[in-house]
């Protein structure tokens, strides 16, 4: 009770926040609060002063030599230092207070004791892949416990079918079929029981009942039920306890439906199932309008639940594509344009767009199609897409633009022209076309076009090295000693796209082009490149996880901006990040730098632009 202040403090510091309360309690009892005047040296060494320090107020600088030169890190409130010395990863560090500082001090033996906790230890020893894995895991644990705290009534229930015990098996099966359920409530006098489809099967196959027999002998008693306002976790406990996978749900005394374990377990993904269903049934543009809102809610929900961003992105892009195809079909009432292929490019093509930022799309059509009728249709289509909430592309890379609405022959000629007369803009066009995927119409038209493209690359030896140069175009926002280089605005923001996302995506795109990888999603390209032995598994996984982390941060930023009604961009305010996120961000940019070096060597570029 009395030391709760220390507990509160410690619970804010990562990775101490991962410790169970009992361990925190013991840890606080071993800690002291120490004061350092300005310029004072903080005693810290493996031998004589083996301590881990946690700053309560003030700032401490970490230096590589005794004189306080080579200043390489700064620790402010809630930051900790000393672990590197205690774990003998670094021994030549000195620390001094750059302003008056109050710091909690934990003896090494206590720190070593806490290291027995794997979550805690992971923070100090694991590389970025493992750290990130735990980060997501933790989010998922937190969120699944939240979902479990929801009430039973939010779960999808199966219809309640009530039968009399004298009902025949045949009628029972018909009723189940008719109501799309596999469990019924059975009344026998004043007793109530449950019959399930497996009970019926057993009765028919093993106990020799026939279809006309009454179900009475197959009913199980009593009814295991749960109130609709009870917690979902209680439902799960009940199922486990009674070894059943269905519960009858009560509203006061009456039964209202059946809860299945399958639905209970998949509550997370279910939201997406719902969207899919609405989409499948959509008959008009107005129906589709509802779907876009549902998709947005889904993104936010999944993101809060700690689902990895690239899974969210795949799901959302799948939905977006279905929606765009559906829109095409709804608008093309006369089926005039079935011989045109609608493609999405860039981030949509890579399935990496989560928040609808802009549309990059094009049409490749059969030479026989009436181009002017198609033009009219495409203008209408673009306008409807914008109404559905896909913002127009600022560069006019849309089907409403005749440059991106070409017959197969004309498109191929244009691609060749991009190679013959290159420019920065045309490199960009090549990039987004490389990432394209067909959404509506014959996908072979796109495949043939991509073939034209890769044939051009093979003919031109110097092309790839030139194409890859823009990987190095932007500086990675990290300093020599591992400090984040932020912009000088209020939130100390960093452009995540320029700083890390773009270099990874483009570098991987170049390698994919070189090794003939046809997949467009960056994570899948990385997987294929590992299989081609372009780099090893470890490096590839690290790269993928890093991209994921950067995209997750970007998504968080975008959702925040969206909620506040601000323009959506690729920046994140570092001030709003936790210490853990900042540390991970530094690690992530470290990986980006390694990848840049790899690309530089691979394409034998001579440092920078």
């Amino acid at each position: 009770m009395a030391m709760s202040e220390l507990m509160n403090f410690l619970a804010q510091v990562h990775p101490f926040d991962r410790l169970p309360e009992v361990e925190l309690q013991t840890a606080t009892q071993a800690m002291d609060l120490v004061y350092f005047a300005r310029e004072e040296t903080v005693p810290l060494s493996q031998q004589n002063d083996p301590y881990l320090y946690l700053v309560l107020k003030g700032r401490v600088a970490e230096c590589h030599d005794e004189e306080g030169g080579n200043h390489c890190a700064l620790y402010g409130p809630n930051a900790q230092f000393g672990a590197a010395m205690l774990l003998q990863q670094q021994t030549q560090l000195t620390y001094h207070a750059v302003e008056e500082t109050l710091a909690y001090r934990m003896p090494n033996r206590e720190f070593q004791r806490l290291l027995n906790n794997p979550d805690f230890e992971a923070f100090y020893f694991n590389d970025i892949t493992e750290k990130l894995g735990r980060f997501h895991q933790q989010l998922q644990i937190e969120s699944s416990s939240e979902a479990m705290m929801d009430a039973v009534k939010i779960a999808p229930l199966h219809a309640l079918v009530t039968l009399d015990a004298s009902t025949s098996i045949k009628v029972c099966v018909e009723q189940m079929e008719g109501h799309k359920t596999d469990a019924c409530l059975v009344n026998e006098g004043d007793k109530q029981g449950v019959i399930t489809s497996s009970d019926l099967l057993r009765g028919l196959a093993i106990h020799g009942f026939d279809l006309a027999s009454p179900i009475a002998d197959m009913v199980s008693y009593p009814v295991i039920s749960i109130d609709k306002n009870d917690y979902l976790f209680n439902a799960l406990l009940k199922m486990t306890r009674f070894g059943v996978d269905r519960l009858m749900v009560r509203d006061k005394q009456a039964f209202i439906g059946v809860l299945h374990q399958k639905e209970l377990m998949s509550l997370f993904a279910n939201q997406s199932g719902l969207v899919m269903l609405t989409l499948e049934r959509a008959m008009s543009v107005a129906d589709l309008q509802k779907v876009t809102q549902q998709i947005d809610d889904l993104v936010e929900g999944l993101s809060n639940k700690g689902v990895k961003t690239h899974y969210i992105a795949k799901l959302v892009n799948e939905l977006h594509r279905k929606l765009q195809a559906k829109l095409w079909q709804i608008l093309d009432t006369e089926q005039q344009f079935t011989e045109a292929t609608f493609i999405v490019m860039g981030s949509e093509g890579r399935s990496e767009q989560v928040v609808r930022t802009d549309q990059d799309n094009a049409v490749i059509f059969d030479d026989k199609i009436d181009a002017s009728a198609l033009a009219e249709f495409c203008n209408h289509y673009s306008a409807e897409l914008i109404k559905l909430g896909f913002p127009p592309c600022p560069g006019e890379i849309m089907v409403s633009n005749p440059l991106w609405r070409l017959s197969e022959t004309a498109f191929a000629a244009q691609v060749v022209d991009w190679f013959d007369n290159p420019s920065q803009e045309r490199f960009m066009h090549l990039s987004i076309l490389l990432d394209a995927q067909a959404v509506q119409g014959d996908p072979d038209r796109l495949a043939r076009l991509k073939n034209v493209l890769s044939n051009q690359v093979q003919k031109r030896q110097m092309f790839l090295a030139q194409f890859a140069r823009s990987v190095l175009q932007f500086e990675t926002p990290i300093g020599l000693f591992g400090r984040l280089k932020t912009q000088k605005d209020a939130g100390h923001s960093i452009d995540l796209k320029k700083g890390g996302i773009f270099p990874i995506i483009h570098g991987i795109r170049c390698l994919a082009l070189e090794y003939g990888v046809v997949k467009t999603n960056t994570h899948w390209r990385i997987r294929d490149l590992i299989n081609h032995n372009v780099f090893d598994e470890r490096f590839g996984v690290e790269l993928g996880e890093t991209l994921n982390f950067l995209n997750t941060l970007r998504l968080q930023g975008m959702l925040q901006q969206k909620a506040l009604g601000l323009p959506i961009d690729n920046s994140i305010k570092t001030d709003s990040l936790s210490q853990l996120q900042q540390d991970l961000l530094k690690d992530a940019f470290g990986v980006v730098n390694n990848f840049k070096k790899f690309i530089e060597q691979h394409y034998k570029m001579e440092g920078g632009l």
Binding site: M1, A2, M3, S4, E5, L6, N8, T28, Q29, A30, M31, D32, L33, V34, Y35, F36, A37, L56, K57, E100, L102, Y104, R105
Partner: protein, 210 residues
């Protein structure tokens, strides 16, 4: 009470003589170099004659190190209801204090913890008289330890006659001290937090003086 102030050594000898229970002579042992004890009480009210201690926290300070790992946190069992106004301050309700130590057992622990070290506190006289209300009838003397009041230290250091505007009181509130000394204010007022903040004030004032 004597009408004049005796030198501390004579005063100590006199108190030691009056000490009823010789088991507590350790209160007069030679002092431990540069160690003091900072303490704070939460009470049922503000009248030492009637009110009781609810919780007491004491923390050792060695030089500039506040040894929270060697702190003492005591809860006193209550036999009367706490004044509602006090409950609001320390947020300890009557139901929260039905468990705890008997006051003599608690103070016995406190005396052993403190030994002959100097006591540090904020408006320490009040806390000391709360403790003395228990100690005096029992041991025949009040706490013999030297006492350092951080409010007084702060006043000595910062109060300047010529600077002080007329008709304005020199602000000696706890909050003012923390702000002036640029120290963090810890959330809830409880005995431990108050003792810890007082200890920070003491350490900071010591470092300014050095």
């Amino acid at each position: 009470m004597l009408p004049f102030k005796l030198p501390r050594s004579i005063q100590q000898a006199w108190l030691k003589h009056r000490l009823k229970n010789k088991a507590y002579e350790f209160l007069f042992a030679p002092t431990v170099d540069n160690e003091v004890v900072c303490f704070d009480c939460e009470t049922t009210g503000l009248d030492p004659k009637q009110d009781k201690i609810v919780t007491l926290s004491a923390i050792k300070i060695r030089g500039r190190e506040i040894l929270t790992s060697e702190s003492l946190n005591l809860q006193f069992r209550q036999y009367c209801d706490i004044n509602p106004e006090s409950i609001v301050i320390h947020q300890l309700r009557n139901m929260d204090v039905t468990v705890g130590l008997d006051e003599r057992d608690a103070i016995d622990q406190f005396l052993k913890f403190v030994g002959s070290r100097s006591l540090v506190g904020y408006y320490l006289t009040f806390d000391v008289s709360m403790v003395n209300a228990i100690v005096k009838p029992w041991l025949g003397i009040g706490l013999p330890n030297a006492q350092i009041d951080v409010a007084e230290l702060y006043h000595q250091h910062f109060y300047q006659d010529w600077l002080q505007p007329d008709h304005e009181v020199f602000d000696l509130s706890f909050q003012a001290l923390l702000e002036q000394l640029n120290l963090p204010s810890l959330g809830q007022h409880d005995a431990f937090n108050d003792a810890l903040m007082t200890a920070m004030i003491y350490v900071k004032l010591q470092s300014i003086r050095d």
